[in-house]
């Protein structure tokens, strides 16, 4: 079957199987799990994953063809995105055969939901400074601590957990990766409300949570190298989304604003021109990255340029729109006020603008690194988190 046929078949399958209208109603998790099972059975889940663990063993070409076909559908797969994009590939790459056997197929079939447990209140940009402890307890481990910014945790069956197992060595060298049972009674999931009033993330508290040693991923104290694998997959799954661009139906888009604003004012027109210029510049850059990716040139750290620019544009756009619309935009539940309250999210999630600039400077421009004061200090002597 050539690629065009593959893509056509996928499209036909999606037309018949993506839930819409009434089917899409009801318990969203049940809908998602049902769809995922059918997707798996049709051979479209884990397209590039090894056959031995439940994948299809096909190439990037088939995956790109499927993604191209799927672009016009709203797949209800959000709750599986962490598992499919990050934790699953980590198990495939770094897990034991027993772990692969146990976890991969249920993940691909949508039977189990995963979350990722790295960030902490005291360890955001600087994940390796995390303080959640895992201590030896017979042939297993006892975990205590707190994680934050965890999406889909309220639905998750399993979490990929990075915890500190040694405080006498520098921070990167005393971490270990585990799979933790999110149903353990010592795990508490609490929704985290963001500044827009929504709760898309959670805080997770671990109170004497037991983990059997079979659920350790990689060697003891070698968790950082496993985490790097996870973060690499995260970057790849983000860059696969590169080229998606902003939504035309966003309330602060040029299309929406021109319908409501007084464009007889030349200054309003010129502000909308500025918005057009910036949106188009980023849109074309995203398209170029996508064309490069299709041609087999992966964007790598240049994806961080696109992320930084999108974060800036999103905030610029909501700020501009409220300035143009004036007082009505901030009262009466106006969509532009809501857009403004959400706008900083992109700049604060997935690496701040400062972290993005560091990545671009270090990895795209190959500039010399900042001197590191935390490389060779035992963790217990290191300054971390928030302290005077």
């Amino acid at each position: 079957m050539d690629l065009a046929d593959y893509q056509r078949a996928a499209r036909q399958w999606l037309e018949r199987n993506v839930p819409s209208g009434e089917q899409a109603g009801g318990d969203p998790i049940a809908v998602a799990k049902d769809f995922m099972a059918r997707l798996y059975d049709a051979g479209y889940s884990g397209i590039t994953w090894p056959e031995r663990w439940g994948g299809q063993g096909l190439t990037q070409q088939e995956e790109r063809a499927f993604n191209a076909a799927a672009r016009d559908f709203a797949l209800p797969t959000y709750v599986f995105s962490i598992g499919l994009g990050m934790t699953g590939p980590t198990i495939v790459d770094r897990g034991t055969d027993a772990q692969r056997e146990r976890f991969v197929r249920p993940l691909l079939r949508g039977e189990e939901i995963w979350c990722q447990l790295f960030s902490e209140p005291g360890a955001g940009s600087d994940v390796a400074a995390l303080q959640t402890r895992a201590e030896r307890d017979g042939d297993g481990w006892i975990v205590n601590g707190q994680k934050v910014w965890t999406s889909v945790a309220q639905h998750a069956d399993w979490g990929l957990l990075l915890a500190r197992t040694n405080v006498d060595v520098p921070k990167h060298k005393g971490l270990t990766m585990f799979v933790v049972d999110m149903h353990h009674p010592g795990v508490t999931v609490r929704p985290l409300k963001d500044m827009s009033g929504r709760s898309n993330f959670n805080e997770i508290f671990f109170d004497d949570v037991h983990i059997p040693d079979e659920h350790r991923v990689g060697d003891v104290d070698d968790g950082w190298s496993v985490a790097v694998t996870t973060l690499l997959h995260e970057r790849l799954s983000i860059s696969a989304g590169v080229g998606m661009g902003g939504r035309k139906d966003h309330p602060a888009s040029l299309e929406a604003l021109r319908r409501t604003l007084d464009t007889s004012d030349p200054l309003v027109r010129d502000e909308l021109v500025e918005l057009h210029i910036r949106s188009r510049a980023l849109d074309l850059f995203n398209r170029r990255l996508a064309q490069e990716t299709e041609a087999g040139v992966f964007p790598g750290a240049r994806g961080s340029v696109a992320k930084l620019l999108l974060a800036e544009l999103t905030l610029f756009q909501a700020d501009l729109a409220t300035r143009l619309a004036g007082p009505e935009s901030v009262a009466g539940g106006h969509p532009l006020g809501a857009a403004l309250a959400m706008a900083p999210g992109l700049a604060l999630g997935g690496g701040t603008n400062e972290i993005m600039r560091n990545i671009v400077g270090d990895r795209v421009l190959n500039l010399p690194p900042e001197p590191r004061v935390d490389k060779n200090v035992p963790f217990k002597e290191l300054k971390v988190g928030t302290q005077a």
Binding site: S119, P121, G122, G124, S125, D126, A129, V148, W149, L192, K193, D194, M195, G197, D265, L267, V268, L315, D319, T322, R323, L324, A325, G326, P327, E328, S329, V330, A331, G332, G333, G337, L340, A341, P344, G345, A347, L348, G349, T352, N353, E354, R357, N358, E370, R372, V373, D374, V377, L382, K383, V384, G385, T386, Q387, A388
Partner: protein, 335 residues
């Protein structure tokens, strides 16, 4: 031109600051209007009567003093009808009414001021005011109909008030519909009311931006990333330095505009438009950047950063789309 505070003004600032630090710290702002704090603010400190003439029981102070007070109420994001009452008081100083001014000076009455949209007829005032600052909390509405300024009892007949879902959760607005509401004609205040309102708002904005900058500077000294305080990174330090530059200029402009309000009527229109055009923008930019510099925690509901961000945006557009202030400058410069 007087751009530095006098000894008395510094003492006023310290008194208001100390009072608010105890009675209404920023963290309390999300709980909304506390009438008790409001009563003490006006009773113990006499803030509501600051610019009310002594003949009405006020302190007879000027805009230089008012700006000092508003900077402090802005810094703690004081909820409730204080700013709205200041706006109304400004209008009343140009169309004096003993009952209202003394009520405000005593702290008995709160008020708010609204622009056009209302007509006066034989059977009272009629019209719709879609967004009135502190419209739910204020006792009295001052509203312009034709060239006259009218006072309307907001708890009286013919008045329908609806609270609005506002971006700024610390200080509300209301939709008000007047349907034959009794209105008392107070006089015909001139154009300068709008200028003075602009100056007062800029003073609050100065406080908002100063407090936001102070907060993130303090955080940059205690938050660690990669083994260093984040304030030691130039990425953070240089941004904070630029924010400080905006603050210095904003303060200079507010002092100038307050001086013009008190002593140089011919410079007031230009100073007022400058104050809104510069300070309104700078305040939002500083509040925005302070939120971003917090990192993830700044995005949470529990943290106060978003309260400043939202107040700053709400203030920026409170008097209309900001381009109106720039258009005013162009007009005054005869460009």
């Amino acid at each position: 031109m007087k751009l530095v505070l006098s000894q008395e003004q510094r003492e006023l600032r310290a008194a208001v600051r100390d009072f608010l630090a105890a009675a209404s710290p920023p963290g309390k702002a999300r709980q909304g209007y506390d009438p008790q704090v409001y009563a003490r603010l006006n009773g113990e400190l006499g803030l509501s009567g600051l610019i009310v003439g002594e003949e009405y029981g006020g302190a007879g102070a000027g805009f230089a003093e008012l700006a000092v007070a508003l900077e402090e109420t802005g810094a703690v994001l004081l909820p409730g009808p204080f700013l709205a009452t200041v706006f109304a008081t400004i209008a009343l100083t140009r169309a004096p009414d003993k009952e209202l001014l003394s009520g405000i000076a005593e702290g008995r009455l709160s008020a708010t001021l609204a622009g056009d949209g209302v007509t006066a007829g034989g059977d009272g005032l009629t019209g719709t005011l879609p967004r009135v600052l502190s419209g739910m909390e204020a006792d009295v509405l001052l509203v312009t109909a034709g060239s006259g300024l009218y006072a309307v009892d907001l708890t009286g007949p013919g008045v329908t008030r609806t609270p609005l879902d506002t971006l700024d959760i610390t200080r509300g607005q209301a939709g008000i519909v007047l349907d034959g509401a009794p209105g008392r004609l107070l006089g015909e205040p001139g154009d300068e009311v709008a200028d003075l309102v602009a100056v007062a708002l800029a003073a609050e904005q100065l406080g908002v931006m100063r407090a936001a900058l102070d907060a993130i500077v303090a955080y940059a000294k205690i938050r660690v990333a990669f083994g260093r305080y984040i304030g030691s990174y130039q990425g953070v330090k240089h941004k904070l330095a630029d924010m400080h530059g905006k603050l210095e200029q904003a303060e200079s402009i507010v002092r100038y505009a307050a001086w013009a309000a008190d002593e140089a009527a011919d410079e007031l229109p230009g100073a007022a438009a400058l104050a809104q055009a510069y300070v309104g923008r700078a305040c939002f930019e500083v509040a925005r950047d302070h939120l971003l510099l917090y990192g993830g925690i700044g995005y949470t509901w529990e943290h106060d950063a978003h309260l400043y961000f939202k107040r700053a945006k709400t203030d920026e557009v409170l008097l209309g789309p900001p381009r109106i202030h720039r258009a005013r400058i162009a007009e005054l410069l005869e460009l």
